[in-house]
């Protein structure tokens, strides 16, 4: 009895040590397989939510999240089945159900984050449809699946949305106007009709880079960002650092 206890304790201790070592390693490296995918998704969601412009679609992250979600869902339904068939034999206890509940809750929480992420993107695509259609039709875009600005589904949505919208405008009022006034992407006359994302707007950022770094603002002004500092700056100056991961939008 006492020996098993001691064994248990030693084992636990070893395991705990392994845990702490692992944790140290993962905090050392910014990108490793140990990075919590949940936190990554939250970060991507917040960045997307607060950025005035569409950020590149997180192909890798979203694919990973989707795969893991469907795996977990499969596991959940298998376990439910297992629970149902063994309910009478007494193998399954309340503990098991509680565990399934925690797993289910996590699935729901992740799906919610994912929905928020996609909704933020769709609202921007809705608002600046013409701008993004011309952005994504450049030849260098779309050739690489993993780095494109929008996902395949979003691309399809964007074009469909634009088609329906033009149809509606045409049917309801544009057909009654003189022909030269019917272009939705008219840029003549000194006023562009394509609404562009307000990249000049200010955003809240938090620096997460360990080393302080300096960004240049207009009129030869510089700003030093230190770790955990919170700043309000124009989006266009901070955009490259958001993509690098040195700052997060909040």
């Amino acid at each position: 009895m006492s020996t098993t206890n001691i064994d248990d304790i030693i084992e636990d201790f070893a395991e705990q040590n392994r845990h702490t070592v692992k944790r140290f390693k993962s905090s050392d490296k910014a990108i490793s397989s140990n990075v919590n995918i949940y936190d990554e998704l939250v970060k991507a969601m917040l960045n997307e939510r607060m950025a005035p412009d569409l950020l590149p679609y997180q192909h890798k992250l979203i694919n990973e999240v989707l795969t893991k979600l469907s795996n977990q869902q499969q596991y959940l339904s298998d376990s439910h089945e297992y629970g149902d068939t063994n309910a009478s034999s007494g193998i399954v206890d309340g503990d098991f159900k509680l565990q399934l509940m925690i797993i289910e809750t996590e699935i729901e929480r992740l799906s919610y984050m994912l929905r928020l992420y996609l909704r933020s993107r769709l609202s921007k695509i809705d608002k600046y449809t013409i701008h993004y259609i011309s952005e994504t039709s450049k030849p260098e875009e779309g050739s690489q699946e993993d780095t494109s600005l929008v996902s395949k589904q979003e691309m399809e949505y964007m074009h469909q949305h634009f088609k329906i919208l033009t149809q509606l405008y045409n049917n309801s009022f544009l057909k009654k106007m003189p022909h030269f006034l019917t272009y939705l992407d008219d840029t003549s006359g000194g006023q562009s009709m394509i609404s562009k994302p307000p990249v000049n707007n200010h955003v809240f950022v938090k620096s997460v880079s360990k080393k302080p770094f300096v960004i240049s603002l207009d009129e030869d002004e510089d700003l030093e960002l230190t770790e955990n500092g919170i700043y309000v700056v124009k989006y266009k100056f901070i955009k490259p650092y958001v993509e690098l991961g040195d700052v997060v939008l909040i």
Binding site: K68, Q72, R119, H202, V203
Partner: protein, 205 residues
Amino acid sequence: MALPESLTYNLSPPEISFLSENEYITILPRYSMKKIELIGEKIPTLRGMRRERVPLWVALILKSQDKCNIVPPSWLELDFLKMKYEEEMKLPHKFSALPWHWLEISKILLAKAPDDLADPSNKLKSIIQDLREIRLVKSRKGLKELNESNIQLDGLSFMEINELRPYILKVMDKLMNLHDSISRNNVEAETNENEYEDGEASEDE
């Protein structure tokens, strides 16, 4: 609309509260439970009376089933908060360091686990309210400093930033527009007349 206008550049308080539930907290399990492999992280094997760190949302599920006690974070304590309050009084131009999610987490814990807190919840509530108010006053005074370029807001927490955000962003964007139009006016003052003529010409076409 994919996202309501009111939510485009801002988060709602429930959303922030949701995000704060991802923070880790220490629990003292009352029962043992096998480890769970979640997508985000692993929940270690829980054993009675051995402390473990788990995400707050897991702790809340266990707590609601009476499976664990939550160990309140070290800052959620009367003495510590009083010290912070005095610090706020002493330094009128600086925010004292509080956790990123202090408002949300204290609210959640006060509502869901009042029996686990070391101090009576009414006293905690009142000191939290005091702290919150003094910080609000400070941040409102700080609004005088808004300019068109950039500001630094160290020490504010997520919820407090979210409260200030709509106002600060709007004012700064407007100031920027004014600033731009002034500088543009100076440059274009001379060429203005030519442009008017051009504009009329194109309308005639």
